[in-house]
Symmetry: C2
C-alpha cells in the first residue's frame, strides 16, 4: 500500500516580506505564478500590526475563473502579515482581488495559472456512491485510518518519527486534535499554545500564529504523503481551558482555523472527539460549529463528529459521514440506511496492552474488526496503545508502531482497492456478512465461524472465480474452476477467513 | 474432572413376573430390600392387560417414612405389568401401600430400607445460593454441559459409542430430547416410537413401553456416570407429529414420562428446545406443561425451558433456572437480577465447521464463551457440529468428539470446583467481568483484552495470592508474593487470560 510520494504543492507567494515598503501594504506576487490543481495558492500582504488585528481587521479575496467567483477568507499571521490561501479545483487562469475593512488591504489584484497536478495529487476526498469515497480525480478512496490524537504537539523529534512511521505504513487517514491533550499517558506540556498564554491564563482575544504555523506544517506533511488529516476541532481531554471557551471564542477559533487550513486538500473536519463527553456543551453548540465550518469552508471538506457513548444524529444534513466510536458492526446496515452516508468505525478500541477497557485488544482482533466493518459496507479505524516507559503511545503521541495489525490492514486496503471502484455494499438477509457489487463482486467474511463447506447462491448465468482469503496470513488462494448459481465450496474450516468472488 | 463411576443403584423388585399367580395380582417383593439413598426403588405388580390399561388403569403408591407420606404415580409397562418407581431421600425404613382404581392393584403393601449411597451418588442437583447448584449431599455442582439432542434414538452401536465418549469427557450434563429429531443431518428413522405407529399414523391412545424402556436405560447409564440428563420434553424438529399432538395427549405424555423417569436422580425437565419455534403452541401451553410436571414430580427436579429467539419469562415461579440460547454474556447480570435464579447458556453456538450460522465456531471461541459465562456468574453449554460423511454430528447424534474445546472445559470445570462452594457472583461496575466471593476469591477474565499490566482494588487487610490462568494452554502460573488493597500486576499481554485471587 505504499502511497506515491507527492511534492508539497503549496507555493508561497510572499517572497520577501522584509523587502516590502515599510509601513505600506503591497500584494506580494511574482509574474503569473503556476499552482497545481488542488494545490495551495497563497497571497501574503503587509497590513496593520497595531491594535488587535485578529479582531479588528478582516480580509478576504474573491477568486475568479471565467464567470465563477469563490470567496475566501484570509487570516492574520502576525507581524503585520495577512495571508489568503486558496486551493483551485479548475485548470486555467484565475484572478483575484482582495477585500478588507482596511484600505491598505483592499482591492489588491493578482492572478495565477492552475496547472495539472503533480503525481500523487488526486485532489480532495469526497463522498461517492452514497456510502463510499473517492478523490476528486475519480480514484476511489478506501479509508484505512489511524489515530494519534496529539501527535502534532510532541515536539519536532517525535513528530518527525511519527511522520517516518506513517510513510512506511498502510494508513491513508489520520485522526488528530488541533488542541493539545491532557489525559493518562498525556501529562507533557505542548510546545505551542493556540492562544497567547501566561500564568495559566489564555488571552482569547488573539491567536498565536506560531501554534498554527507549526500545526499546518504537519498537516501539509501528511498531505505530501497522501494521508487525509481528520482534524478534531474540540475534545474533552483538556487542562488548559479549550473545551470550555466562551461561545464567541469557539466561533472565532473555527473561522480562523478554516481560513488557515481549508486550502489543504487533505483536511477533513471532525467537530469532536467524544462530543458527548464534553458535558458543558449542548447539541445546539455542536450544530453551530457545523454551521460555522460549513459556511466558512469554500471547498466543503468532509465534516463529521465522533461520539463517546451517545451518537450525534448523523442524519443531519451538514454531516457528510458517520464517524463512530463502537464495535457493534451488526448495526452498520441500520446506520447506513438511516444516514445514507458512509460509516467509518473511527474508534473500535486499540491494539495494545494498557489496563484500560478500550486499550488492549490484540492485533488479530483489530484486523477482525476492520474486516467486519468492510463486509458490512463500512470502514474501520486503527489505533495502538502499548505500554511504554516514556508514555509514548501511538494512539495519542505517535512515534513508532509495535502492533501486528498494520501490515494486515495494508493487505485489506489492497483487497478493497482491487474491488469495485464504486465500493461494495452489504447484501440483506445473509447468514454471514457479505459486501458486494451484485452480479460482479462478492466479499464474504466468516469471522468466528470456521465452516468446512459453504453453500452459495450467486446469479445464474454469470461465471465467477472464487478465492479464499486469509486476512491474517495475508494469502489469497484461488479455487479451481468457475462457479455460478447455487453451489457448495469446500473451505479450510479455520476461523477468520474471507471468500471473494469476482466475475470471470 | 473424572467423575467417580457409580454402580447403577436401581434395584428391580420384580424378580419373576412369570411366577406370579396367573390372572391374579401380587406385589412382587423380596424380604426388606435395601435401596441406596437417591437410588431407585421399583415395585412391579401384575394387573389387567385387557382394554386400554394406559387410559383405564390408574395406580400409585404412598411411601411412608415416619409420619411423612410421598405420593408416587405408577405406570403401565405393557404385558400386564404395572410399575411404581420411587427414589428415597431419607435413610431408614420406608413402607408403602398401593392405590388403584382396580382392586387387584389396590392396597398392596411393601417396605424397604434406605441405606447410605454408594460412592459417586451425591443425590439430585438442586438450586443453591440463588444462582448456583449443589448436589443433595451438599457437594457444589458446576454445570459443564453438552448437547446431543437425539443421541438416544440412534441405535445401540452409536449410543454405546456416545456413552464411551462421555465417560472420557468433562461433561456433567447432557441436553437430550425425548422425541426423535428431524432436521438437517437428521434424516434417519428412529428404532423406537413413543406411541404405536403404523402407516405413518400414531396411536395416541397408547404408549409403546419399548420406547421408554430404551430411553430410560440411557438416562440410567448417564446417571451411573454422574451426568445430569436435561430431558427436552418438546421440540420443533419433527416429522412424526409429536410437536402437534392434541392437548390431552401432551398432558398424558408428560404424566407418563414423569411417572417413569422422575425417580432417576439425574433427571432435569426442560419443557422445550426452542419453545418459540413451535409456532402452534401458545405461552399458556408451555405454562400448562410446567404445571403438570410440577404437580406430578414428587422430587421437584429442576425445570427449565430453552428459547429460540424469544425468551420465556424465566421469572415465573415454576422455572428453577434460566436455560438460554444466546451468546450475549453482557446480559447475564440483568437476567440474574431479574430472575434471581441460575443462568445457563445452554446453547451458545457449536464448535464445528458446518455451513450454518450456529454451527461453526472454533474451539477457542467455545472456550471463550464458557469463560465469559463463568466470569459473569453464569454457566456455558457445549455442543459440536463437524461435517461427517455419515452425518454423525455430536450435537444431535453423539458419537465421538472432534473438537479442541472439551479438554479446556475440563480445565475450567476444575477451576470452578476449586473455587468457593457457594459459587461466584459478578461484581458490579467493573472494567472487565469478574466473578467473586467478596473478601475471599476473585476470578477476572480479560477476554479479547491483552493488558500488559492491570490495576486492582481488592479489600485492604486481606492478603491474596494471585495466579495467571491461561484457559487455552491450561496453565496456572502463580504470581510471587501476596497482594491487598490497591496494586498493579504485570500481566503477559496476551488475550483470553484470566487472573484468580485467593485469600492467602
Amino acid at each position: 500500500m505504499p502511497t506515491e510520494p507527492v511534492r508539497p504543492s503549496r507555493r508561497r507567494m510572499l517572497l520577501s516580506l522584509s523587502a516590502l515598503p515599510a509601513g505600506g501594504a503591497a500584494l506580494a506576487q511574482t509574474a503569473q505564478e503556476k499552482v497545481e490543481r488542488w494545490g495551495i495558492f497563497e497571497a501574503a500582504v503587509q497590513g496593520p500590526s497595531s491594535g488587535n488585528p485578529f479582531q479588528e481587521v478582516r480580509v478576504r479575496a474573491e477568486f475568479r475563473h471565467g464567470h465563477r467567483t469563490v470567496q475566501v477568507d484570509g487570516f492574520y499571521d502576525g507581524e503585520g502579515v495577512y495571508r489568503i490561501r486558496f486551493s483551485p479545483d479548475t485548470l486555467g487562469d484565475w484572478s483575484y482581488v482582495t477585500r478588507s475593512n482596511r484600505p491598505e488591504l483592499n482591492g489588491k489584484p493578482g492572478a495565477f495559472t492552475c496547472v495539472a497536478p503533480t503525481p500523487g495529487n488526486r485532489g480532495p476526498v469526497g463522498v461517492q456512491h452514497t456510502w463510499h469515497f473517492s478523490y476528486a480525480d475519480g480514484t476511489p478512496y478506501f479509508p484505512v485510518g489511524t489515530t494519534c490524537y496529539a501527535w502534532a504537539h510532541q515536539g519536532d523529534q517525535l513528530e518527525e518519527q511519527t511522520l517516518a512511521t506513517l510513510r512506511a505504513g498502510p494508513f491513508n487517514k489520520m485522526r488528530m486534535c488541533v488542541f493539545p491533550k491532557d489525559y493518562v499517558y498525556n501529562q507533557n506540556e505542548p510546545q505551542f499554545y493556540p492562544f497567547p498564554r501566561q500564568g495559566g491564563r489564555n488571552d482569547y482575544t488573539r491567536f498565536d500564529p506560531a501554534f498554527f504555523r507549526h500545526f499546518e506544517k504537519r498537516v501539509g506533511q501528511l498531505m505530501a504523503m497522501g494521508i487525509e488529516a481528520d482534524l478534531i476541532l474540540f475534545h474533552p481531554y483538556d487542562r488548559w481551558g479549550y473545551h470550555l471557551m466562551p461561545a464567541e471564542v469557539d466561533d472565532a477559533y473555527l473561522r480562523y482555523l478554516v481560513a488557515r487550513l481549508a486550502a489543504y486538500r487533505n483536511v477533513w473536519w471532525s467537530m469532536a472527539n467524544e462530543w458527548d463527553f464534553v458535558k458543558e456543551k449542548k447539541v445546539s453548540d455542536w450544530d453551530r460549529y457545523f454551521h460555522i465550518v460549513q459556511e466558512s469552508d469554500p471547498y466543503q471538506r468532509l465534516r463529521s463528529i465522533h461520539n463517546g457513548s451517545v451518537l450525534y444524529d448523523h442524519a443531519k444534513p451538514w454531516v457528510t459521514h458517520a464517524s463512530i466510536q463502537g464495535d457493534d458492526f451488526s448495526k452498520t446496515v441500520e446506520w447506513r440506511n438511516a444516514y445514507r452516508k458512509p460509516v467509518i468505525f473511527d474508534e473500535c478500541k486499540y491494539e495494545g496492552n494498557i489496563p484500560r477497557r478500550w486499550g488492549n485488544i490484540s492485533g488479530q482482533e483489530m484486523v477482525r474488526r476492520f474486516w467486519l466493518a468492510a463486509a458490512n459496507g463500512a470502514y474501520g479505524g486503527h489505533g495502538e496503545t502499548f505500554l511504554d516507559a516514556k508514555d509514548v503511545l501511538w494512539w495519542s503521541k505517535g512515534g513508532v508502531l509495535h502492533g501486528e495489525s498494520p501490515r494486515r490492514l495494508a493487505f485489506l486496503r489492497r483487497i478493497l482497492e482491487e474491488g469495485p471502484a464504486q465500493g461494495i455494499n452489504p447484501l440483506p438477509n445473509q447468514k454471514y456478512p457479505v459486501a458486494a457489487r451484485e452480479g460482479e463482486y462478492y466479499l464474504f467474511y466468516y469471522d468466528l465461524s470456521q465452516p468446512g463447506e459453504m453453500d452459495y447462491d450467486l446469479p445464474a448465468g454469470v461465471s465467477f472465480r472464487a478465492e479464499i482469503i486469509d486476512p491474517w496470513q495475508m494469502t489469497i488462494t484461488a479455487v479451481p474452476g468457475t462457479h455460478q448459481g447455487k453451489f457448495v465450496l469446500r473451505l479450510p474450516g479455520r476461523p477468520h477467513l474471507a471468500v471473494r468472488f469476482r466475475k470471470a
